[in-house]
């Protein structure tokens, strides 16, 4: 029982981290209509900044620089590349982002090489135990912090003028601009938020039990794509719930792999996509996606 609970807690905390990433996908998509396939390398950039700066300037200052750096990178990608696209064609933008991803990833791989950079977090490899459940401290902190971040996001989008303006711009940009809302600003804010969330997620993904930062970290961001899609592309709540589902299912599949050997090995990598396909079969627009019902 405690083994199950441990796996479940692991899954939930991992799911919350995936949720941070998936929410970034959603916010970029709703604020600028871009499927941001460069999200993984933005995440890696944030984590990389923390790893190389933690020695000279200290961990916490490095965290601030990493978050700000990833946010700024997002804003730059939007300002230099996305806004200059002649036509708002989601296909063109998505391919463009794949290109950006490859460029950034190649440069970061060159810098990191074969090394695995330690993130240098003060929680190190500690674990916490309560009620028979053992969880890495980093994961416990990640879960708590993610919940706080989601609370802040809720407050931002539901209670502040800027947040409501972002939602209005996402719903109908043309009309929102008639209200005096500047779409360039809501777009930049979206990319900045997504970048910051990705950097936070990156720091925890590089913490124990992971050994540190390697270029493969960028691929972990892709594990959040099924979470994003099954939550319904344009729903922040959906992305969070999607992250939790994928996190728990992955943790359980890995934790019980020996009992599931008839399904073969490496189940943890396949299972997020299998869950996504199953959900989409039942609910084609995702769990929380806007119903594409067209009134005739």
């Amino acid at each position: 029982m405690s083994y199950f609970l441990t796996q479940l807690a692991n899954g939930l905390s991992y799911g919350l981290i995936l949720g941070l990433i998936a929410v970034g996908f959603v916010i970029v998509f709703t604020s600028t209509g871009v499927l941001n396939f460069a999200h993984g390398s933005v995440l890696l950039t944030g984590a990389y900044l923390v790893a190389v700066l933690q020695d000279p300037i200290g961990f916490w200052a490095a965290v601030l620089v990493g978050i700000a750096g990833a946010a700024l990178l997002g804003v730059l990608i939007n300002a230099v590349l996305v806004r200059n696209l002649a036509e708002a064609n989601p296909g063109t933008a998505a391919i463009l982002m794949l290109g950006v991803d490859i460029l950034l990833l190649t440069e970061l791989t060159r810098r990191i090489g074969n090394r695995v950079l330690p993130i240098g977090a003060p929680w190190g490899a500690d674990v916490v135990t309560f009620g028979g459940i053992t969880l890495p401290t980093s994961r416990a902190i990640a879960a708590g912090l993610a919940v706080v971040v989601f609370g802040v996001l809720w407050f931002l989008f539901a209670r502040t003028g800027a947040g409501v303006a972002m939602r209005a711009a996402a719903a109908d940009g043309d009309t929102a601009s008639l209200m005096g809302i500047r779409l360039t600003r809501t777009g930049a804010a979206g990319w900045a938020l997504a970048g910051a969330l990705a950097a936070i997620a990156g720091i925890f993904l590089a913490s124990f039990p992971s050994p540190g930062i390697a270029p493969t970290l960028a691929l972990t961001a892709f594990a959040a794509i099924p979470a994003w899609v099954l939550g319904g592309f344009d729903s922040v709540v959906g992305a969070i719930v999607g992250g939790l589902i994928i996190g728990v299912v992955t943790a359980l599949a890995v934790g019980y792999e020996s009992d599931l050997h008839f399904l073969g090995r490496g189940l943890g990598e396949v299972v997020p996509y299998a869950v996504m396909i199953l959900v989409l079969l039942v609910r084609p627009s995702g769990l929380f996606g806007r119903q594409e019902a067209v009134r005739v």
Binding site: R167, A168, A171, T175, L178, M179, G180, I181, V296
Partner: protein, 527 residues
Amino acid sequence: MPDPILIVDDLAVAYDGAVQALRGVSLRVDTGSVVAVLGSNGAGKTTLLRAISRSLGSVGGAVTAGTIRFEGEDLARRDTSWVVRAGLVQAPEGRRIFRDLTVEENLRAGGYTVRDAAARKEASERVYDLFPILAERRSQRGGLLSGGQQQMLAMGRALMTSPKLLLLDEPSLGLAPQLVEQIGDIIAQIHAQGTSVLLIEQNAAMGLRVADRAYVLEVGAVTAEGSSAELSATDDIRDRYLGVGTSEPAPTAPGEERAETTTGLQRSSTARAQQLRVEDLTVRFGGITALSDVSFTVEAGTIHALIGPNGAGKSTCINVLGGAYRATSGTVHYGDAVLSALPSHRIADLGVARTFQNISLSLEASVEDNLLVGRHRLMRTGTVSQALRLPRARREERAEREAVRRIAALLGIEDLLDRSVHTLSYGDRKRVEMGRALAAEPTLLLLDEPVAGMTHGESTVMADAIRAVQQELGLSVLLVEHDMPFVMGLAERVTVLDFGKHIAEGTPQDVQRDPEVLRAYLGTAAA
């Protein structure tokens, strides 16, 4: 003379650098006045408002000449955000409220540029005073409001910045007569609170009632201007925009080519109109009952109208007849066939054609191609012979293009055949839809708001066209429409729905006197 708040001087606007939408338009709005702009479809009214609110860019338009001054300030180098902050706000055509945001959040988005929280609160109090229904529904999502409430929300949202000048684009579009009256009263109230208003309105009676001055815009240029009283008195305006009275059938206006419209259309088959019987039709969506036990009969070869307030279930009814929605219970017979059991392409094969309330055309394709799609059911040559351009296919194509041209001529869209649909105005798109439905040579034509967004003159032309095809081709017509002069002048029988229930039926004269109908739908204007 009072100070002008807005001066438009010699304005020209072009789309995609080619299509000239406005030419030499000059207009002024005095501080504290209401100015209406009348004009037929495609005259450039929405373009004018977009030029003033600096929002042409997103639709591919650009000012090519002339100036716009707001309180003396040239707007040439200003963007939408700047003009909103300066006190000039546009409420867009078609309401365009944020459906997933609550009423309160919609207003919040409207007041985005107001930095001062106290001013914002005061503005929202004023909006709630003006529209008490919005206060009642403040935490409801915008998409759940009825059409009239959505229009109020769109206006309230624009008022959140406490603008000096409010631009309203077709606030009465698609609203029932009693709501149109109410919107007119609200505009008068907004004006009384000190806001200047520039109003585009297809319902000229309402527009001229609330406006001090009016301009008439035709094909991109101003053709008449004056005080509302002067303009209301001119014959031209009366014929083309006002009609006579709101509750009587429009009499034949002398000099207009309406007495003998001949269609020049012929049926390529011997199909005949049949009787349409709707029996105990009920439609539910989830827990909402859109239609409940509705029965009526459209006799073969007659024009039958379906009227009622917004949300009464009229479009739902058309959608069931055309096969887009399934009936929950009840049956629809067309002659011997049971329509309610057939998929939509089989219904089309029986000779039933329809138009859509929210227009459903191929936007990138030309008008001619859109109309040719309607002929699909009648074409006999196969895909292969068409692809190989065999003589038979070429002959058929020539014949079909000729048929399409006759239909276009009948509807007055002959000059638009080569234009792609996305460059057309709302009303012209309505006509293309009607043309596509006619191109299928139907025996039963279902029309959902065929003259929404048209001037009185244009709807008269449309009525003549419908009457002509009905008589010469002997088809039945079932139409849904809010334009009462149009309905009462055209329909032989009228069925009235309210909240999904059949509340009255009879000749136009009977229905207009029915107290139940007056209460639910027509309001005092027709009493």
